[in-house]
Amino acid sequence: MFARPLSAPADQSSGMLFFICLDDMKNWKPSAPTLLLLPAIIVLAAVVIVPLALSLYSSFTPFRLTKPETFYVFIGFRNYLNILTDRDFWVAFGRTVLLLTVALNLEMMLGLGLAMLVEKATRGQRLLRTLMMFPMMFSPILVGFQFKFMFNDNIGLVNNALQSLGLTDQAIPWLIEGHLAFIAITVAEVWSSTSVFAILILAGLLAMPKEPIEAARVDGCTPWQTFRYVTLPFVMPFAYIAMTIRSLDVARAYDIVKIMTDGGPAGRTELLWTLVGRTAYSDARMGLANAMAYFSILLSILFTVYFFRKLAAARNQIGAEW
């Protein structure tokens, strides 16, 4: 939609340019590799590079979807300055980091526990491994709906269970009170993605040589000490791989939150990307939203770099040959 005013005047001139080029290059024969790569380059340019460039450019404009002409007003870094001084943005930013921290740690612990249990299973391990992957097979949107239902204060499973067990006689407003809503979202995130950790850590456990564990037992370790000093250091690189993958996931968490609370109540569960989405489409302030998005990508990059460092260190430590 906003591409049209841009391309219409440019069409003719670029067409002319094209002919001139052809004239000039009558004798130019592109090499076979160039020719063969050209379709890929054109497609990439069309679907990745151009949109990326446009969105980056628009983050320097006050572009609103409702006022296409604003696309041509260049305002420099004003969007970015606005973000940096915007309290709502920073709150969402902080909340995203908090969700990242809480969810990743929980997933890591649960995944580790799960992986160790499955590794111990002597029969039916394949079946268990498949079962473990189940939550990943559902669309996050569906997970969102499911947990929205479960945490519903009137008809939800959670409250029903709590009341039946006599733990409470009130309808706990899971999705309505800010802190509780955050907890509910965390639970949904953790449920849907613990298996990423579990599967990767399980891979680590299965790849682990058994002799060092036996050596530790002979060296006087209790089962706990064996785990703490031998098994855990070995599987940490695998956990860091999971962390890297999941930190990108959570840093762009959108779907589950969108469905469960839509950032509510009153913005109390607003995360970076729900805020970006709202700014872009509800408020129609595309330029500002793009600026937020670019800023948020920084966060993802930071986390990725951090975990890659950890991974490299841990790999180095166990003398991994991969």
Partner: protein, 365 residues
């Protein structure tokens, strides 16, 4: 510091039995080698002593304690694994000090004992390295260092040298022997290499299919093998073993050739008995080129055709055709021999062995 004794020790995996009730008494400070072909149950036995494998029957004592149900950490043993089993994420120093750290020893004592072990094993330069930065031989030494810092009652070695190349293996063999002289602990050493067993141990236990075939000093198992299996297993090149039948005063081989019954067996055999005749390569040699050249014992000379020769420098292995097959003989002060050449071979029958063809037991009494 500790004796080890096994009584009717058994191991079954489900329905299959892999160790069938073995009895063994290891004396304090003894170096004992468990030797036998691959799959005969050596590792299983060792791992049961370590407590890494549950026992299915019988009893294990270390010192005066029955340790059947004790976990490995309560047995005060050290083990060196075939694959070294170093902790990949710890430095050499941490690897060696780990057991002391777990035992809650003070840091300065750990430091002292690690440095001492490193000195014995010549690991001083490597203390800060990680296992992945070490060569096979160095890893091997670290594994031994890790075992000795603990000052255990018993050392258990499971084929510790089999991943090393031939030269290093010989070198480490000497190191282990020196180590035993220094630490003076009981050592149970598993190997499939009879040379290692012979060179290192005070006594050798020869195992086969989960049974013990013979227990004895290297000299005993070499000179007086209790069974045909031991005779064939110990010694390199292996003993010549050929089936034969006793016929009057002779052992008659299937291909028609025959030899007198060795004197030491005259009382033990009866006519018509199926036997296996055994003679070590050292006890058959081109006349004048033998080990026992000076002291004529019970020499029987046969003219035999040479099939091939394997010169080794100071000696030559000569394969001669006899009884329809090749017999290996050892020629000292070798002279060149051609294939097909007929030479006078001296057979020292005083060193010959006879085994019952059925039971495989030695007929010596």
């Amino acid at each position: 510091m500790a004796t080890v004794s096994l009584k009717k020790l058994e191991k079954r995996y489900g329905a299959t039995s892999v160790v069938h009730g073995i009895d063994l008494d290891v004396a304090d400070r003894e170096f004992i080698a468990l030797v036998g072909p691959s799959g005969c149950g050596k590792s299983t036995t060792l791992r049961m002593i370590a407590g890494l494998e549950e026992i299915s029957g019988g009893e294990i004592r270390i010192g005066d304690r029955v340790v059947n149900d004790l976990p490995p950490r309560s047995r005060n043993i050290s083990m060196v694994f075939q694959s070294y089993a170093l902790y990949p994420h710890m430095t050499v120093k941490e690897n060696m000090g780990f057991s002391l750290k777990i035992a809650g020893r003070p840091q300065d004592e750990i430091e002292k004992r690690v440095v001492e072990a490193a000195r014995i094993l010549d690991l001083g330069q490597l203390l800060e390295r990680r296992p992945s930065q070490l060569s096979g031989g160095q890893r091997q030494r670290v594994a031994m260092g890790r075992a000795i810092v603990r000052n255990p009652d018993v050392f258990l070695f499971d084929e510790p040298l089999s991943n090393l190349d031939a030269k290093l293996r010989t070198q480490m063999r000497t190191e282990i022997k020196k180590l035993h002289a220094k630490v003076q602990s009981t050592i149970i050493y598993v190997t499939h290499d009879q040379v290692e067993a012979m060179t290192l141990s005070d006594r050798i236990v020869i195992m086969r299919d989960g049974h013990i075939e013979q227990v004895g000093t290297p000299d005993e198992v070499f000179k007086r093998p209790a069974t045909r299996f031991v005779a064939g297993f110990i010694g390199s090149p292996p003993m010549n073993l050929v089936e034969a039948t006793v016929d009057g005063g002779e052992v008659r081989f299937e291909e028609g050739a025959s030899l007198p019954v060795p004197r030491q067996f005259r009382q033990a055999v009866s006519a018509g008995q199926k036997v296996v005749f055994g003679l070590r390569p050292d006890d058959i040699y081109p006349s004048g080129h033998g080990i026992h050249a000076g002291e004529a014992e019970d020499i029987h000379v046969v003219e035999l055709p040479v099939s091939i020769t394997e010169p080794l420098g100071n000696e030559t292995l000569v394969f001669v055709e006899f009884t329809g097959r090749d017999w290996v003989s050892r020629m000292l002060n070798p002279k060149p021999l051609r294939s097909g050449e007929r030479v006078d071979m001296s057979l020292d029958l005083s060193q010959a062995h006879l085994f019952d063809a059925g039971t495989g037991r030695s007929l010596r009494n």
